[in-house]
């Protein structure tokens, strides 16, 4: 199958999420946010958001509640390290596999 449909004459790349695939598959542990401890969740207004600030992969959202995109989270654990109220714990992926009901 040829590549003539591709009109490029040089290497012109366009932006896309997941260029390296589902990088969530890289991790063996994932961050879990305890919304009872998380400051913006408790105050119900924009506050802190340090996990969002320090995430190298921009997979954390500045929403209330704060959410982590597990499709692409590489499980580096930085968010857990920087959270000033220890609201984020890093949990082994095994826990989620073992707890599946199907």
């Amino acid at each position: 199958m040829g590549t003539r449909d591709c009109q490029h004459i040089c290497g012109e790349s366009s932006p896309g999420i997941g260029e390296a695939g589902r990088t969530g598959e890289w991790r063996n542990a994932r961050p879990v946010i305890d919304q009872k401890k998380c400051t913006p969740a408790r105050q119900n207004k924009p506050a802190c958001f340090l996990c969002w600030l320090y995430c190298p992969d921009a997979v954390i959202s500045k929403t209330i509640p704060v959410q982590i995109n597990l499709e692409y989270c590489k499980g580096c654990g930085i968010c857990s390290q920087v959270c000033p109220v220890q609201a984020i714990t890093i949990v082994n992926e095994e826990e989620f596999v073992l707890n599946r009901t199907d």
Binding site: M1, T3, D5, C6, H8, I9, C10, G11, E12, S13, S14, P15, G16
Partner: protein
Amino acid sequence: MSLKKTDRKADIQILDGNQAAAQGTKLSRVQVIAAYPITPQTPLTETLSEFVERGELSAEYVAVESEHSALTVCNSASMAGARTFTATSAHGLAYMHEVLHWTAGARLPVVLACVNRAMGAPWSILNDQQDSISQRDTGWIQIYARNNQEILDSVIQAYKIAETAYVPVMVCYDGYVLSHAEMPVDVPSQEDVDRFLPPYQPHTILDPANPKNYNLVTLANPRVNTEGVLCHGYMELRYLLQEALQNSRETIIKVGQEFGELFGRGYANMLWEDRLDDADIVIVAMGSLAMEAIVAAGILREEGHRVGILGLRVFRPFPKADVMKALKKSRLIVVFDKNISYGSEGATCSEIKSALYGSDVNAVIRNFIVGLGGRDVKARELAEAVNKSLPSLKEGTLSNEYPEWICYI
């Protein structure tokens, strides 16, 4: 589209090769110039900076700190959408080598004037064609000028060729022999060149509203993009470069024809042919050597030989079909090379042999290395080399393993 011939009177100026190149660059309304001085290109660079500082040429003149940077500046300025120019010789061209590959692979229509000079070691500032020949694999179109008129005309045509094919073009001319020798040159008017050369239309977009990332790592195999279209692997992108060079023959001839219609000097050819109609002995040469060869042919004709000249104008893409056709009637082909691919033979000779392989041409081919490091080449010596080759028509091999040299060893 046929261009109406200019009704302007000829403006003959006495220019050396560097000045002719500078005029061509100025008339082409180049927008970014980046060049590093190197003998014998330096006066070209200086003339351009004079044009810019006097306000005669509205261009950004970047005084780069090396040739590697010079071509990089041109590449990126070209990506941004500007018409760019650089010039160099010998070691400067060699210093740019990796960037030459980049320009071609990125399909940028940069024009480079190579003022042909010998490579060290040992040092030589004088002329031969080893520098540009050494870059023949990089994917640039290479045009060789025989005299200063052709230098000026080739620079202007180079932009139209480059910007049509999206392949960079190298205009080569012999250092000192042409660059520093003064000849009468008809300088076109700006108005006429503007009619001939439209503004540059880049294929690259550098716009935050439509972001693209150019020349990233490309895998061996094709890869699907975000819209599901199967995009090229490295090999396909490189195939397209070769395809563009193969197809550029048509563009080169068309541009040459248009130039001829407008300016009265035609270039609708890949080769310069002189008296080939009745010749069975053909001298092949490139650059100013092709002019010397005409004098040599004259000497040989006086001696009763039917000698013609095949002057190579375009070295890349190599005009195989044109060469095969031009050499149809030849029985002896003497190729003079001002270069050598060490361990083998002169580059032009290899190309000629490759062009003739499988054709009906059953000629003897002889290769002579001449003029390295500025060694003066006399028409008499070229004629003697041809005479020396004549016995091989009766006995001897069709071609020799290695070339002969016209020198003192």
